[in-house]
């Protein structure tokens, strides 16, 4: 049972040798050696199917449309994989082709596996995002409001990174007198995800023992820029859950503008950078002073306006009352009467003047028509004596009669000496 290399192609027709009969194990061992020496370690691409895991080891087959290749990935090798291997995954595997005697099959013992067409980290990220989104961790309704002017701010970051300096600088610039509490944590590498999630939980536990006025009101969790590997701790599930479960509102500040991690999606507010987080967490002191001063002025002005309004209303009412005062009314009436009296006097006087004028005019007219006026022009009136009747016709007089002649001034008594009847 101890051939150096069994000649599998030995013809049984060689008469000098007895027929060699292999045991199952022998032939299997041979197959194994041939496979391993022919292929050694190879890269194989295929689709994962029949995936199962037992005791931490992965068992699956890689297939394409013509064949399948059983595969196994032991726990020691699969521990590092960040993404979840699922049936249907198109993957590229690196491993040793071998045979497994007890099952009578050949297989690939996989050392490394990568998703085809996408980075393994990228795939892991997408899988976790989908899972957490389904659970509702990213829902807007769950996000807590950020307090406007917190008196105590927590910061989870590395003491040796750029982020902490930026945050402290911006906070000092905007509002220099606040209480900042830093809970330091590794932000990349081994153990980072435990330190970050632990730090978040620490702050929550810290608050539990304190009265409301001394509690941390908001926390910033973040780090400076880096590659996807550097930021990876902020894509870990344990960090996401710590943020989600935090009773203290969390502002995430990871990397730069274009980096979005799962921490950013779960957080109550996302800041593009640590400096921006510091701006979001607290308003500028001068802005607040201005706003407060403005309100103070408004209050003073509006109470003064209010009083002015009421005062003028009061004065208007007082005036109205004053006008209704009986004494005033009497005075008013007196004035009115005096006025009327004056008017009556004026009109009466005027009326008299008019009548006087008319009268004088009439008198004038009358005067001009008066026969006595005619006398002034040289005419005279002759009266018969003693009848005193006016003589217009000479036939009514005889010679020798006495006549009276009224002149303009005076009278003449005469005897008629002669007459003519025409």
């Amino acid at each position: 049972m101890s051939q150096a290399s069994p000649d599998l192609f030995a013809s049984s027709s060689n008469p000098s040798q007895a027929k060699h009969v292999y045991t199952v194990s022998e032939i299997t061992q041979g197959i194994k050696l041939i496979l391993e020496s022919t292929f050694g370690e190879v890269w194989v691409e295929g689709e994962v199917s029949n995936f199962g895991s037992k005791d931490g080891h992965f068992y699956f087959t890689l297939k394409d449309n013509l064949a399948i290749l059983p595969g196994v990935m032991f726990a020691r090798a699969n521990r590092e994989i960040k993404f979840k291997i699922e049936n249907g995954l198109k993957a590229i595997c690196f491993g040793k082709i071998s045979a497994y005697g007890p099952h009578g099959k050949y297989q690939i013992i996989v050392e490394k596996i990568e998703p085809k067409g996408i980075g393994s980290l990228q795939l892991a990220l997408e899988q976790l995002k989908e899972k957490l989104e389904k659970e509702g961790l990213f829902r807007a309704e769950h996000k807590r409001p950020i307090p406007y002017l917190p008196s105590r701010i927590g910061v989870v970051t590395s003491l040796s990174g750029a982020a902490v300096k930026d945050i402290l600088k911006v906070l000092d610039r905007r509002f220099s007198d606040i209480h900042i509490i830093i809970n330091p944590a590794q932000v990349q590498g081994e153990g980072a995800k435990e330190e970050i999630s632990g730090a978040i939980k620490d702050f929550n536990r810290f608050n539990e023992g304190l009265p409301y006025s001394q509690q941390i009101e908001v926390m910033i969790v973040g780090r400076g820029g880096g590659s996807m590997e550097d930021l990876w701790a902020f894509n870990e599930e344990v960090v996401a859950r710590a943020i989600y479960n935090s009773k203290i509102p969390v502002i995430s500040a990871v990397g730069h503008e274009r980096d979005t991690t799962i921490a950013d999606l779960v957080a109550d507010l996302r800041a593009a950078t640590p400096s921006v987080a510091a701006e979001l967490v607290i308003p500028k002191k001068e802005d607040l002073r201005e706003r407060l001063a403005g309100l103070f002025t408004d209050i003073k002005r509006s109470i003064l306006d209010f009083i002015k309004l009421r005062t003028s209303e009061l004065e208007a009412t007082q005036k109205k009352i004053a006008l209704l005062n009986p004494v005033v009314l009497i005075e008013q009436h007196k004035l009115r009467i005096a006025d009327l009296a004056r008017q009556i006097y004026i009109r009466a006087t005027h009326f008299l003047k008019l009548r006087q004028l008319e009268f004088n005019t009439a008198i004038g007219k009358l005067s001009s028509l008066s026969p006595l006026n005619i006398l002034g022009r040289g005419y005279s009136i002759t009266f018969k004596i003693p009848q005193d009747s006016i003589i217009k016709d000479a036939k009514f007089i005889k010679i020798g009669d006495t006549i009276k002649t009224k002149l303009h001034k005076g009278e003449i008594l005469s005897e008629v000496l002669n007459k003519s009847d025409q």
């Binding site: 307090p147 007198d177 509490i181 810290f206 607040l288 407060l292 309100l295 103070f296 209050i299 309004l309």
Partner: protein
């Protein structure tokens, strides 16, 4: 200012201004609101100006309890 949050205080002030400007309060009510407004303004101003700057590190002592240590003792590494 522990009892009332700053933002709420500012909102209250704005409401007081609105009420006074509307003008349909009695003189008593208006004066009361004015007093309240002045008081809140004063407290807010105090809050802004009296805060003190403090930077601490959260640590656990030997008993496992939380303590705050001022930053200059723990020095930010350059």
């Amino acid at each position: 200012m522990a009892e009332i949050k700053f933002e709420e205080a500012l909102k209250k002030l704005e409401k007081i201004v609105e009420d006074l400007e509307k003008g349909d309060l009695s003189l008593d009510e208006a004066l009361k609101k004015y007093q309240e407004g002045i008081e809140i303004s004063r407290l807010c101003s105090q809050r802004l100006e009296s805060a003190k700057k403090k930077i601490d590190i959260l640590v656990k002592n030997k008993k496992g309890e939380f303590e705050l240590k001022p930053l200059d003792e723990a020095r930010i590494e350059e």
